[in-house]
Structures are given as C-alpha cells and as structure tokens.
Symmetry: none
Subunit: 207 residues, 4 copies
Amino acid sequence: MSPRRRDDGGTAATRAGRRTELLATAAEVFAARGYAATTVREIADAAGILGGSLYYHFDSKESIVDEILSTFLDDLWARYDEVLGSGLGARETMESLVIESFRAIDRHRAAVVIYQNESRHLSEGERFTYLGESWDRFERMWREVLDRGIKEHAFRSDLDVPLVHRFLRDTVWVAASWYRPGGRLAADEIARRYLTMVLEGIQAPQE
Amino acid sequence: MSPRRRDDGGTAATRAGRRTELLATAAEVFAARGYAATTVREIADAAGILGGSLYYHFDSKESIVDEILSTFLDDLWARYDEVLGSGLGARETMESLVIESFRAIDRHRAAVVIYQNESRHLSEGERFTYLGESWDRFERMWREVLDRGIKEHAFRSDLDVPLVHRFLRDTVWVAASWYRPGGRLAADEIARRYLTMVLEGIQAPQE
Amino acid sequence: MSPRRRDDGGTAATRAGRRTELLATAAEVFAARGYAATTVREIADAAGILGGSLYYHFDSKESIVDEILSTFLDDLWARYDEVLGSGLGARETMESLVIESFRAIDRHRAAVVIYQNESRHLSEGERFTYLGESWDRFERMWREVLDRGIKEHAFRSDLDVPLVHRFLRDTVWVAASWYRPGGRLAADEIARRYLTMVLEGIQAPQE
Amino acid sequence: MSPRRRDDGGTAATRAGRRTELLATAAEVFAARGYAATTVREIADAAGILGGSLYYHFDSKESIVDEILSTFLDDLWARYDEVLGSGLGARETMESLVIESFRAIDRHRAAVVIYQNESRHLSEGERFTYLGESWDRFERMWREVLDRGIKEHAFRSDLDVPLVHRFLRDTVWVAASWYRPGGRLAADEIARRYLTMVLEGIQAPQE
DNA sequence: CATGAATGAGTGTTCATTCAT
DNA sequence: AATGAATGAACACTCATTCAT
C-alpha cells in the first residue's frame, strides 16, 4: 500500500527532490501573481500536473507557502546568526548583514517577493506567527547594530534609529522585486554599491 | 455609525461626497488585506451597508480600485509637474520631489499602499495600462534628475543611476506601509530626515 | 398631500393614460427581450423614468405582464365571442376567427409575442391560471369549428382534427413574431392569403 | 438515479458520454423553463450533481446552449444538404425537407424548442452569429424551392412566396412544442399529414 | 409622480479540496 | 504518483423591490 519503492538510490529527483521542484515552481507563481490571486491549478499547470495531484505532496495551499517561507527564513537566519556571532564591529556587522541579505535574494528571489508582499496578511493566521516574530527579530537586530554603531562612532550620532532601521529593512528586501539572477550585477556587487550609497550618501563630497 | 452626517454644512456629504467616503473606506480595506483577498462584502461591511448596495455607486470591484489609484496618481503628477516646471536645480528638484512624495503618502496613504502592492498585477488588465505608464514616467523622471545632478556636480559622479533610481523610487513608496498620519513625525519631517540620510549617508563624517 | 390635481378634464394623458403608455412600453420590451431576461430597469429606461418609479404605478413586474396579457385576451375573446354568437356556418366561422386573430395581432402585436413565448412558463404561477384556461378554450373552439365543418362538408372528411387544430392555432399566432404594423400587407390581407393557403393548399390545381 | 451506468457495454458512458448526457439534461431544462429563467443549479439538480460541478465539464451556461444548438443545427443542415444535393424536383424536395424537419424534431426535440424560443435573443451575442446565419439560409432555401416549384407548375402560380415561406418555416418548428416522441403519431406520419394539409388544403374537394 | 439610496435573495462562476481509480 | 470527477463554500454581481424625501 505504501507508495515508497526502493530506498534512496534511484534517480536524483526522488521524493524530496520532487517536493523541492514543486515548491520552487509554486514560489515563482506566487511571486508573479500574488498568493491570494494564485489558484492551485495555476501552480499545477506550471508543474505539468493536474490540480488535485498537488494534494499528494502537500496538505493545502497554505502549507505550500508555509514551507516556502520557512525554508527561506531558516536559511536567512542561519547566515545572520553566523554574522552576529562572529564578533565584528558595528559597521562591519552592518555591511555583512546587507551582503547576506542580497545573497539571500539571489538564492530565494521568489520567496523574498512573497515574504515582502504577503507576510503582513499571512501573519494573521495562527500558523504563520513565526512571520511576525521574524519581523520583530529584524527590528531588534537592526536597532542594536545601529545603536552600537553610533556608540562606536561608526555612524552619525544624529541618526533617527527607528527611521533608518525601516529604510534599511525595506530597501534591502524591495530589491527582490526587480532583481534577476544573472542580470547586469551580481548580488555582491549590488550590495557593495548599495552600501556605498547608504553609508556615504549620494551628494557630491563637499570640500 | 450612521452614514448620514448633517453637521458639516448642509449638502457637503451628498452625491459625490458619498462616493468619496466609500472610496476612502474601500482604500483602507484594500490596503489592509490586499486587493485580491478583499471581498466586496468586507468593503460594504466597513461602510455599514450591504454588499449589493455598493453596486449602486460603482460598476465593479475593479472600477473601485481604478478610481482610487487614478485619483491618487492624478493628484501626485499634478504636484510633480509643478515641481518639474519651476526651473529648480537638480538637487532642489530631487528634494522637492521627495517632499511631495511623502506629502502624497500623507494624503493618500491607503492608495499608495495599494499602488505599491498591487499595481504590478493590476497593470496586466487593459483598464490599468496607465499604471505601467506611470511607472515608466517615474523612471524617466528620476533618471533625468539624477543625470542632471551629476552634470551639475550636485551628486557624486560615480552613481549607478539605474540602481539609485530604484532605491529612491522604492524607499519613498515603501514608507507608506508603516506611515501613520498623526504619528510621531509629520510627513515633511520624515522627508527631511530621509533626505539627510540619502544625501549625506549614515556613516559618521570622516575628518 | 394627495398628488391628484384637477379632476378629469386636463391633458389626455392623465392617470389611466400614463398607465396605458407604460404598459405599451413594457410590452415592447418584454416582446423584444423575453420576460425573464427583461429587467425592470430596462422598462423604466424605455419609459424615461427610474426603476423604482415604476412601483408607483404597478405592484410588481408580474403584475405588469399580467395586465398586458389579460387586456389582450379580454379583447380577443370579446371579438371571438361575437363571431361565435352570430350563427355563421363552420367555414365562415373559421374564416372570421382567422381574420379576427390577425386583427388582434395588429392591435396587440407585442402582447401576442409575449403570450406566444411566455405563457407556458407563466401559467405555472397561480396568478396566471387564466392563461391555461384560455389555451383550453382555444382548443375546444377550434375543434368544434373543425368538427362542425366536417359534418357540414365544408372541410375534408379525413382531417386529423387534433393535428389541424394545432397548426391553425400556432401558425396564426406565430405570425406576430414577424408582423410589422404598416408593413407590406395589412392584417386583413394577410388573413385572406393565409386562408387561401390553408383552405386550398399550395399545390397547383389538378385537372 | 446514479449517474454511473455500467450495463450498456463498458466504457460507453465515459468521457464524451458524460458530456452528452449532461447536454441532453440541460436541453430538457432549457426547453421546459426557458434559457434566461433556467438557473445553472436547476440543470445540475436535474443531472444529480451540484451547481459548481457543471463547470468541470463546461465553461459557462452560454457554452452549454451553444453546444446544444450547434449540434442540432449541424445535424440538421447535413440532412438538408443531402436532400438539396440529390437533384429532386421542387415538390419532392419540399416534401423531403419537411420530412427531415420532423425527423429532426424527433431526434432533437428540446434543442428545437430552444432554437425556436431563444435564438432571436441569443443571436445578439457575438458567439451566436451562426444562429442568424442559419435563419438566413433557411429563408433562401425555402424561397428557392418555392420559386422553382412555381416555375415547374408544381405549386400554384399565385403564391405569395415570402408569406408562404414564413408559414412553412414556423409551422414546422412550432410542432416541437407539442411533439412527444413515442406519442400517437410517429414523426414521418405527422410529416405526411402535414404535407397533405399544406399541399391540398383543408377544404372539401370542390366538384 | 418621481428620485436616490438601499435591501436581500439569488445568479453564474470560481476554487481549494476530496477521493475512488 | 497522478487522474478525473465531484463537492461545497464563497465570491462578484444582478435585480425586484422598498421607502424616505
């Protein structure tokens, strides 16, 4: 009765492989059309199967986004935690976080778009409380880094921390909406230019 | 609770007044829940009438967002055009545009949120071609101002114009998602701080 | 408080006059678009008033068709009864009934179309039992005339009376669907040609 | 009551079979209650499924009538074309056309009723232009046959061709409204009696 | 008489989901 | 793993009807 044949050896795209494929497909469609506006059939069409067949792999439409978003966030926080745990100064920390953010956009573009557009609505559902918690963690993280940077005289002493935090947070993620992997600039290069802009400003140096 | 008011000067809330009220209500709901996820009944509930009654005032759900967005954009571009037509230098132009943007957020908060979140999806409909055209106009506008600013030595000569344009565009509008009229900072004050950050950067002045 | 001004003298189009006008308008719209597919607003539009205003004159959409159909049938049966009561032979009776039918089409074209298309559905409602009764009366009437005509050797003795009755009944009324008052042929002339065809047949005389 | 049958030979009621079943059911309901007055749920009830389930098989209510009517007309014109192409004299052509018409009523009773009652309204929709074209083709066909018959001295020379054409056309189709397959007379027998009536007239032979 | 705004039941349609095969 | 057919709740929208003005 169990549909499992053999153990692990077979083709590369076994069990978990198919799941991952389907999640990637679903993420693209959600990102392109919006979660609420996407039908399960559109996802299935994009995957080349029939609507009902998705339910062999997933419990519900909700559980699909859930898996997309939590995979992305787990990965992201693992990198962030690495940066935060490595004892860097405030400015280097800030730069590393921005770089890791753009790398995350590179690896999880569709998921970031979904996160950016839908997490406000989704986080009302019990299942998605972790989304709200993640936003809170972001906020604490950025504020700490900024506060520390001011203390360390790395950042200007007159910064409006709550305001700057929001701009950092949003400008980074909003880039996912136009970023195309393999485009003109690689993720790290975008991060570098972005950092120059944010750190030094866009006006010509005053002498 | 009653949809009728008679205090604020006779026929103020008649005819067009009711329409405007309903549009404001609808905009709030769309902004809070997303266009696709909002039901017509939710809008009606928020307005204190029944679902079907909305159709006395509007043709369709679509025509409601249409009116919300086009009203906002008409107003915005009228202000932008005034700025652009007043012969300012590139830097003053850029500052004025940012200020007008934050003022628009103040006047049309909900509409801006909708514009930001939904215009990509909506602009596929024939009726909403003006949304795409507006994005294009934004792009040309910002690029011109930035290019001119570089020529006038107001902005750094090494700016990546396409990149900076995206950041300016997005960071301004994304503020609508957290801005609350009557909050800690007035729109003009937010604009001032935002400009300082963007123009001078956040790092401590190097001596 | 009473909206009635003056007594009867005034313009020709008082009370009852307006009613009749509205009924004529409604009949045209029902005939053109079908009863179920016609909205009350379409009738009101055609009459140059607003939807709700019709309810000053009539109780309901149903009562409008009711009045249209019963007016027509009352008029029709008054004429038929005159013919049937005048002691004519079967053939002359048949001819007179056909002529009166075409005249009724001339006077009540729209009502006949409605009667033809909708009475089957309408007669299920309690209010419209008279429609079914009218069909029955038609049937008895035609059968009697045909039976009598056979006995009097006016009609062929091998007629299939039930069948001929249906053809007479339907062919007469169905003419309402293409008849236009003021067209090529007047009602009486159409009746004459129709009678020739039905009585003598269309094949060339055999000698 | 079960929509599944398994007696009549294996996969007979699969795929296309189910579609055909549903179309037949829908045709009956449309014929009985009128197209506009029929709700999709009524059709579904009659088929023993839920309203929404119909949309697995059909795009819309409109596409259901569309398929009913076009199937009928395709079949009808195939037979007519066979008659018209077989080189018969005018009178035999006319008789064959009448016979084929009554046979079509026998095979497609409900569709004919719908065609008769609704095609005027439906043909305003772009999708149903073929209905108007079919009426035009009928008209040309009957006029040609009648004209030819007069030339061949098969029909009376004083026929009012446009008038006779309408009576032939309508009297034939209107029979669908009372015809019941398996009733007193078979389709061919009705056709025979109808032809006698139309060709020879109903009056007693004059000597 | 007529308007303007609303009601509320119902309509066609969509869609996440289920399940026997 | 996937299909095909169905479910059933919900949705945008319509429309006959009401009623204060």
